[in-house]
Amino acid sequence: MDDMAEQLTERLASDLDDGFTELVRVHASAVRAFLFRVSGSAAEADDLGQDTFLRAYSALQTYSPERRRKLKPRAWLMTIAANVWRNHVRTSVRHPVSATRAEDACDTWVDESPGPEERAATSADRTVLVNALTELPEKHRVAVVMRHVIGMSYSDMAEAQGCPVGTVKAQVSRGIGTLREILTPEAAVLGEVTR
């Protein structure tokens, strides 16, 4: 795995287009899975995933070969993906488009129920978990998805989020705690009593 990562950065440094195709091949599914679980929508994950790589490419164009060689591709891409997602949430709050707010007022045309892809990906048991995930506060959700869905290490996450390892660990554990509360309310009560 380390060998492959080294090979990838080496290719990025020597030939950007070639290295970038390899970057997309290796990391596209992780980036998309992250955005899918954070946003809860397949269509949004596709759009934001493309934005992420577009940003990555234009950033790489300005980097020197040495800088590209030292890159940690996955953590770096996740930083961009998290930023793209954060920007997207902010703009959609500031400029609500017809698909969200305005349509609620008039007759709803958009079918909010999960599409075929969401349904396939979230069969019966998972639906509960996916819904619980979207109820988490944004920071905790990003942390939980990075750690447990994508399987990143705490140090990589800290680098991606630009904060100390301790902070990231706290976010994950709080996120997991909240998830458990949402999933099994009685367990949370029990925990409080025994504590």
């Binding site: 287009d17 070639d18 970038f20 195709t21 390899e22 997309v24 091949r25 596209a28 599914s29 992780a30 998309r32 899975a33 899918f36 679980r37 397949a42 596709d46 995933g49 493309q50 790589f53 577009l54 490419y57 892809e117 990906a121 048991d125 998972r126 978990l129 996916v130 995930l133 939980v144 998805v145 447990h148 869905v149 994508i150 399987g151 997991i176 998830l179 458990r180 999933l183 099994t184 367990a187 029990l190 925990g191 025994t194 504590r195």
Partner: protein, 271 residues
């Protein structure tokens, strides 16, 4: 009290983590390709590949915009990831998954006629290319010995270099190396395991039992006493000869001496 509660909670924590790890859904087949198109990477810089079904099982086929560049039968690789890695190691090009296969690929697989499919043999020596081109001219459902390949490719008939060239076949199934045999009639599966070759041959309807029987009778070539023409036993014309009219020959010379001429379709000797 606290301690016991901790112990009770631990399995639940594991479950939740497992459930979360299960949520890592794979991206749709075309996602990476769409990303590259959106970013504007020129199409010549990478290969795409798709996974197709054929009579002998699944097949990964990679292609550049104008030619097929590599393939692997399902049983030769463990998963798509390994195919991508092997393809890069061999060609130095990244293969990106796509859902639309190379034009003409589906009919070629369905009919077994892949002769006209453009295939890129870059990176191979002239001798290897010559051998593989000769292999491509073996019709579906037929077998040819190594000496036939040497004659068609105008190469010295030493088996060693030809078998080595066959072992380098980058496009199994589409360059039908499974249709090549040793002189004795035993299949020469140089580029893949024998069971892969067996599957490919039986999918084309090649009856290996009948051929073994013929070999036991000492028939390397099969002649017809009505037309006085002799063929390779798998040639379409030889398969039409009814049993009473079949005349087995051990060598082309013997057939010639008996007054038979070589078939012009399967060319058992220079016609």
């Amino acid at each position: 009290m606290n301690y016991r509660n901790d112990e009770e909670e631990r399995p639940a924590e594991g479950q939740l983590e497992h459930a979360l790890a299960d949520l890592a859904a794979p991206a749709p087949a075309d996602f990476a390709l769409r990303v590259l198109q959106r970013v504007g990477i020129p199409r010549e810089r990478y290969d795409t590949y798709s996974h197709l079904d054929s009579a002998a099982g699944g097949l990964y086929v990679a292609y550049s915009p104008d030619a097929v560049t590599g393939s692997a039968v399902d049983t030769m690789v463990t998963d798509a990831d390994e195919f991508e890695r092997l393809h890069h190691a061999r060609t130095g090009r990244t293969a990106i998954r796509a859902s639309a296969p190379f034009p003409g690929l589906r009919p070629a697989l369905r009919t077994g006629r892949a002769k006209r499919l453009p295939i890129d043999l870059g990176g191979l020596t002239d001798l290897e290319c010559a051998v593989l081109h000769a292999v491509r001219s073996i019709p579906s459902g037929q077998l040819r010995p190594i000496t036939w390949l040497a004659r068609e490719a105008s190469l010295p008939s030493a088996a060693g270099p030809i078998v080595k060239a066959l072992a380098k076949n980058p496009v199994p199934m589409l360059i039908p190396c499974h249709r090549v045999t040793y002189e004795g009639g035993a299949p020469c599966d140089a580029a893949y395991a024998e069971r892969v070759g067996d599957a490919l041959r039986s999918a084309e309807g090649i009856d290996m039992h009948r051929l073994e029987e013929l070999t036991l009778r000492g028939a390397v070539f099969l002649g017809s006493d009505t037309t006085r023409i002799y063929c390779h036993p798998t040639c379409a014309h030889a398969r039409r000869i009814t049993r009473p009219h079949q005349v087995p020959f051990r060598t082309a010379g013997a057939a010639r001496q008996a007054g038979y001429r070589a078939c012009k379709s399967c060319r058992p000797a220079t016609v």
